[in-house]
């Protein structure tokens, strides 16, 4: 039986540049992978901006996006240790039309997801309708608190479906359901699927608990091999309509692609 990737997917979580333990990460190689898997758009951040100089990393990301204008978009990585001139920095970079949101990696940058500095970033993003893809909004409880404190913040919880521990405990499921309940009437809370450690059935479980419209396809391409993540959707227990939503329509609506 043939597997047909019949949906032009949008991958909301990719990485530019070389990281450890990943190969063929030059941007033209990423584009080849995208072609192979029928991924039309990739939205990403540079690995350097997460683990090194965020300014140089963001410049690198922009360069890739400008080279592949009809395939790539980028997140501007903000390091919460360097936010004195945040507003000017964001405005200057967003004028290039290559960036579509902000990326945070609070763990890597030594902050809690609710530190004073990080909250300033949420505040700014809320005011200017900038989606924030965060590697970690904390536990499900903390993510719920952030969602309540910043009701207009467009939140994308990266690796969301892997945050459930292995094995899933009943108390963990309760936290997930509590978060789903707290954001039920809130717009713009999303979970991406980028991860290597999704428990069997977790993507489907999250789609059921949060609603398919809140699940965004992400692969961590450039760091992880995208074939694993896209196979989880095509081979998962989803209807064709759900696959369409997760792989394309939700992100298309969010990012206006």
């Amino acid at each position: 039986m043939k597997i047909i990737n019949n949906i032009k997917a949008i991958d909301v979580h990719i990485h530019f540049g070389k990281g450890s333990n990943s190969y063929k990460t030059q941007t033209h190689e990423l584009i080849k992978s995208m072609d192979c898997l029928n991924i039309e758009w990739g939205i990403g951040s540079s690995l350097e901006s997460l683990v090194g100089n965020y300014i140089e990393g963001n410049n690198f990301a922009l360069k890739q996006v400008l080279q592949y204008k009809d395939r790539l978009k980028a997140y501007l990585v903000i390091n919460p240790n360097y936010i004195d001139d945040m507003q000017n920095y964001i405005e200057k970079n967003f004028s290039s039309n290559g960036f579509v949101g902000l990326k945070l990696h609070t763990d890597m940058h030594g902050h809690s997801p609710m530190s004073e500095e990080v909250c300033k970033i949420y505040d700014y993003a809320s005011k200017y309708n900038l989606p924030v893809l965060s590697h970690n909004f904390g536990s499900y409880d903390i993510a719920g608190k952030i969602a309540t404190m910043f009701p207009n913040l467009i939140m994308i919880m990266a690796h969301g479906t892997s945050r459930i521990k292995l094995p899933n405990t009943k108390s963990e499921i309760q936290s997930v359901k509590a978060l789903a309940q707290s954001i039920k009437n809130r717009e713009h809370f999303y979970i991406d699927t980028a991860t290597s450690v999704v428990p069997y059935g977790a993507n489907e479980l999250f789609a059921e608990i949060f609603g398919t419209e809140r699940i965004l396809f992400g692969s961590d391409m450039g760091f992880l091999d995208p074939a694993f993540s896209i196979a989880r959707i095509y081979g998962g227990e989803f209807s064709e309509q759900q696959k369409q939503s997760i792989l394309r329509e939700n992100a298309k609506q969010l990012f206006g692609l």
Partner: protein
């Protein structure tokens, strides 16, 4: 997800989980149903209860549990010290392995040390039979290392007849995995955790495909991502066949209970 490939999954389990995950195979028939769903022809299977407590009880249930599926399932014992039971001495392990047609040993050194010297008398038995030894590594973000690579290197150097299969590894351990592959012909890698961007292709380009094994870690993880990766990759058909089936079948065929060294 069904594809046109023969698949021998080297890493699946069944049994009663004290903390069940979203998916579980409490009984062997649940495992078989999932294998059928994904067109997985054969599997190396252990009883997960052996990871949680004394493994002797679950090991002894294993052969009985899978006897109706002997053409599809190969039995793997979980190793634990099992002090004070009838499955404690190396001789007792050896006899039980032979009596029950066991084709592998699974180590999950969560609360005991994978010490090459202290466990040497057991390793000698397994080595003499060329019995595949699976070791669960479980490293990476949020997971503690259960074992260090120097112990693996020592084991591989000493027990060269043993096919050593590292499971749940990859992602941040490529250097060690490549180095062990370079130094030891009896080092094998179960691929479920090896998910770095194009890492599989990189490995094959350096070392070939003969020591790579399709593994899912079902029921904790779905076999679908692994099936998808193999399907989508640009590896040669012969490499895919090696990874998906031939390599594990070869290791099973080479187990020899009478080959004492």
């Amino acid at each position: 997800m069904k594809v046109n490939m023969k698949i021998f999954d080297c890493n699946v389990s069944y049994g009663f989980e004290i903390m069940p995950a979203a998916k579980k195979f409490e009984f062997v028939k649940d495992l078989i149903a999932d294998m059928d769903k994904h067109n997985i022809l054969k599997a190396m299977v252990y009883n997960c209860e052996g990871k949680q407590n004394l493994s002797c009880f679950s090991n002894l249930k294993l052969s009985e549990n899978i006897k109706s599926y002997k053409d599809r399932l190969c039995a793997v014992y979980c190793f634990r010290p099992n002090i004070g039971t009838e499955m404690y001495t190396p001789a007792q392990w050896e006899q039980s392995i032979k009596d029950n047609d066991i084709k592998g040993i699974y180590f999950y050194p969560n609360d005991y040390q994978f010490d090459v010297d202290l466990l040497g008398s057991y390793f000698q038995v397994f080595n003499s039979m060329k019995l595949p030894v699976f070791v669960e590594f479980a490293a990476g973000f949020g997971f503690a290392y259960k074992i260090d690579f120097s112990a693996l290197h020592k084991f591989l150097s000493k027990y060269t007849n043993t096919p050593f299969i590292l499971t749940n590894a990859g992602m941040m351990n490529d250097f060690e995995i490549f180095r062990l592959s370079e130094l030891h012909n009896n080092f094998y890698l179960e691929l479920s955790g090896f998910q770095g961007n194009m890492a599989l292709e990189e490995y094959v380009s350096r070392f070939g495909s003969e020591r790579l094994l399709f593994g899912s870690r079902a029921p904790f993880f779905s076999p679908v991502p692994m099936i998808g990766k193999i399907h989508y990759s640009k590896l040669k058909a012969s490499d895919k066949e090696n990874i998906c089936y031939n390599n594990m079948q070869r290791l099973v065929d080479e187990v020899n209970y009478e080959n004492h060294q």
